[in-house]
Amino acid sequence: MYWAAATALLSHWRRHPVQLATLLLGLALATALWSGVQAINAEARASYGRAASVLDQNRLAQLVERDGDLISADRYALLRRDGWNVSPVIEGDVRFGRERIRLIGIDPLTMPPEGQSVETAEAQDLFDFLSPSGLLIVSPATAERLEGQTAMKLKISGQMPDGAAFADISIADRLLARNGGLSRLVVAPEQALDLGRLDQLAPGLTVRQAGDRPDVAQLTDSFHLNLTAFGFLAFAVGLFIVYAAIGLAFEQRRSTLRTLRALGLSLSAVTVTLMVEILVLALVAGLTGVVIGYGMASLLLPGVAATLRGLYGADVPGTLSLRPEWWATGLGMAIAGTMISSAQSLWRVRNMPLLATAQPRAWARASARSARFQLVAGLLLIAVALTLSFTGKGLAAGFGVLACLLLGAALLLPAILSGFLSIMQGRSSHPLAAWFWADTRQQLPGLSLALMALLLALAANVGVGTMVSSFRLTFVGWLDQRLAAELYVTARDEDEASRLRIWLMDRATTVLPIWNVEGEVLGETLQIYGVANDPTYRDHWPLLRGEKDVWDQIATGRGALVNEQLWRKKGVEIGDQLPLPGGWSVSIVGIYSDYGNPKGQVIIGIDKLAEHYPDVSRLRYGIRASPKAVPALKEQLTGEFRLPSENVVDQASLKQQSRGVFEQTFAVTGALNIFTLAVAGFAMFASLLTLSGIRLPQLAPVWSMGVTRRDLVAFEIARTLALWLATFIAALPVGLALAWVLLSIVNVEAFGWRLPMHVFPADWLQLGLVALAAAGLSILIPLRRLMAVGPSELLRTFANER
């Protein structure tokens, strides 16, 4: 009996292959976007986790200096002699030729086994590791990058994260010029019981507990939340398709179901059969979606990796591995989503009156009550969005505003469109025009889901597009200010640096030191730069706020500038005292914008920097020279002075590089935008296709009254265009609101900077054309079908259905 029932129900799909394909493809696409995004996130998180455990030994507690200074080797020896089982680590960024990598110097003799994640089982490896010429343990990708950049021996380990290297502590000490100073001490889990008290033995040291989340994971949270939000949006749009397709399939099978029930199949048997069917469909589509998602993620991941590196300095490999956390949740989402979208249909089947006649369009007759409900819910959501945007705090509130805004706008759309159509209908005097508007309005419930999907996709495109373009405009202007020097040079060592300063004396207008130290300020490890007293800064530096005599205060050493990120994150204000590493402080006199930098930054006068941090590396300089002299000077620097060409960068190429990083950052967003639009286009296509199948009864009488099929086709095109245009117009304010939320709430939370909003109507036009093309494509098949309907069929329909 079950089998017979199943065969009867399944035969529906054989007769409607396009409907089946729509359902499967819709669900597969939605799952693909969701699981693709999750795959990217999972890969990135796994890589942060691995980096933290391998590089930072974060599974073990650590000792660090409270004010961010280095720990002296003497203090380490004292702790050891007092019985503490600690192991020293020296780490920092080091440049090998053109490549900059994170170098972690460890002492294999004392590092506890829990902190040693990379294997060098051979005695020969350990010998090389400890040898004065040095051995770097790197990932295969890093080894490739370092090829020819260093004379040191490389050992490849698959366990190493990219962009980092392990070396012996003596090598790190030498390369980073630390003079024995340690970045941190790893605390072994096994310790003697009768240890002295740490605060007496080593005042100033503080314990960082094991398992703290890596900085980079916190830093990139916002980015991954962004991706997740996009994935979820796409998934929601995809579910509209599934909902529409399943609803249609159930309605069309009402008569079959009724027959089966009449033949004695129990209600529960029918429900079970249908549920199994849905489950199988969800599984097939979900699996397909996961496969597509994998492909999509593989395509996007290199871009994401580049973004994360450029924006946050986080290293994520460009290749994807199959992790259950994303493919399983992807599949789970597909099944759950399908079940939710079909719940209403299943419910209707259960409550279906056994003897009522079939009403093929019953599903499309959205009752007046549900329309009212939608309207009220939509208004409520918009109200919540408004309230949240004024009162909410944090990234979650930002995304809450986004979600309420988008969902509310989508729910309001049918009411808005219906109002628009009523007005048009009232204004039409020609009966055919009045029919056109009335008929369009009558179709609205069937199309409204697809239109909502379109609205969401369009609004997301407008919003994200506006944000990106605003950002680009601000960023490019800011780059022009910030990169004022004509040439940027880096000496290879202090010796060369001092020769360079002398050499440049009569060749350049001004030589501006770009020196910086890393230290802990307000609990965050950040860069402290020193600037010279020079008009270059007074004229160009992009200050957001500042006292009038900012640059004098800096020059005399009394003041410091902080970047916007530090200002927002730590809530410091102009006039506050800023404690700096080494136990001194300056007052904050200004705030500058610092786009593209995930961390806080401090600028002080160059003399103060050199005074308090005499070990500062004095290798980098900005050179002011007349633009005409730049090419010659560049030539001389590499030729006469013999600097490697990668150590001499002119302003134009630096700007180009920065812009490259910027474009890369939003390449992924752009790609996801297009995918979302594709899903929405497909939703539109699916809905129109569905409607076209059941619209003959409406068209037949019009045709019989003398309207030609050609005119009917023209009407169909006009109807699609009218709906598309109305949706597009509705999407614009929603998109702009979205852009505002992104720029003034989400970005501030995620990146720590706020950008002015700029509006780009030309981009909207482009987007409108793309959406128009999608709408045009989606109507092609239904139209061909209409053209192909013979007069006899129209006649028959007219006769039979009435």
Binding site: Y76, A77, A121, A123, P132, S170, A192
Partner: protein, 357 residues
């Protein structure tokens, strides 16, 4: 060489490495049989200069400060204690800071009848985590130390010795009741027929008192201890695979140091008979017979823990018994080291070390 992997993947074969120069393939036990390019080599006829020679010799590749003690509590329970600091140079020089090529390794052990506790420490020189200062004498690695007591007549005459591991520890006072003893030919100790040798002197006359901590229980003990000082750059021949080494405290007050370096043939034996007042008489190669009597499985290997030691020339013939046959040092380079007693033509206690099994 049969280095078993320890808990740390880095250091599976540290001893291998410690004795290596220029990354040549290791030979002999713990790589001690390799060439000594760049390092100083022991030559006969060089007199010791104290106290300087109590300190490190960075131009030699390996060196150790090695104390073994046979102890007894008031209720008659026997204990063995080992305290060892090894120095191993990657290059024949020393430098301040992390770049120092001198690597230090400490081994500490406490043996009871039923248990054998041990611990191992590693450190590099240059930063103060480990090292030796000749005067006032101090040898240390982490919190373990062997320290000269101020005001004593010679740097090594009175020593405080401490070490602790996860579940054991000891604090002992050592007091020398006799002179330093030069092993071999005035301290030049030949280790093979090919002439490989080391500088080697001992202080075998310590009386000991102190406390051993056995799994949290402090036990007062008394007994005898023996300090060995040895340094070289290449003490083993390439074909030598390990050694069996005895230090014996005879009840008469006499001491015997005896060893056999094993090779594919009969091995190379040598030793020293030390009178109760500290006068050494070398036991020439061949005058000493060391015969394993029975083996047990220790640390996964067959190790001979009972021996017959014969010195026909001295009418000395004893059989040794280990206090604890499982006195295995499960260190990065594993070996057997534990207290023994002996009976026969003479009786007493001592220490046995067996490597390369």
């Amino acid at each position: 060489m049969n280095a078993r992997s320890g808990s740390s993947v880095w250091l599976v074969a540290l001893m291998f490495l410690l004795a290596l120069t220029g990354g040549s393939r290791s030979q002999g036990f713990a790589g001690l049989g390799t060439n000594a390019e760049g390092f100083s080599v022991p030559r006969p006829g060089q007199a010791f200069r104290f106290p300087a020679d109590h300190g490190p010799h960075p131009d030699f590749r390996i060196e150790w400060w090695y104390v073994t003690a046979n102890l007894q509590s008031a209720d008659g329970a026997q204990f063995g204690v080992q305290w060892t600091l090894f120095r191993s140079a990657l290059a024949p020089k020393t430098e301040a800071g992390w770049a120092d090529p001198q690597i230090w390794m400490g081994h500490a052990a406490l043996t009871t009848k039923d248990r054998h506790y041990s611990s191992e420490r590693l450190a590099r020189g240059g930063v103060g985590q480990a090292g030796v200062v000749p005067e006032p004498f101090s040898a240390w690695i982490d919190s373990w130390q062997m320290k000269g007591v101020q005001g004593s007549s010679g740097p090594l005459n009175n020593l405080d010795l401490t070490a602790s591991g996860k579940d054991f520890g000891y604090q002992l006072s050592l007091s020398a009741k006799g002179p330093l003893v030069r092993q071999g030919d005035q301290g030049f100790s030949v280790k093979s027929a090919g002439g490989q040798a080391s500088f080697y002197y001992s202080q075998p006359f310590y009386d000991v008192s102190g406390i051993v901590d056995v799994a949290g229980r402090a036990v007062p003990v008394k007994g005898k201890a023996w300090l060995d000082r040895e340094w070289s750059s290449q003490p083993l021949a390439a074909n030598q695979t390990g050694w069996d080494w005895f230090s014996l405290h005879l009840d008469t007050g006499e001491k015997i140091m005896a060893f056999r370096l094993r090779d594919e043939k009969g091995g190379y034996t040598s030793g020293n008979w030390i009178s109760a007042d500290g006068q050494p008489s070398a036991l020439p190669p061949g005058s000493l017979e060391l015969t394993p009597l029975s083996s047990v499985s220790v640390g996964g290997r067959d190790v001979p823990v009972a021996w017959r030691v014969r010195i026909p020339q001295r009418s000395f013939d004893v059989t040794t018994t280990a206090l604890n046959e499982q006195a295995w040092m499960p260190t990065r380079t594993p070996y057997w080291e534990g207290p023994i007693s002996f009976q026969g033509t003479a009786s007493g206690r001592g220490y046995l070390e067996m490597t390369g099994y």
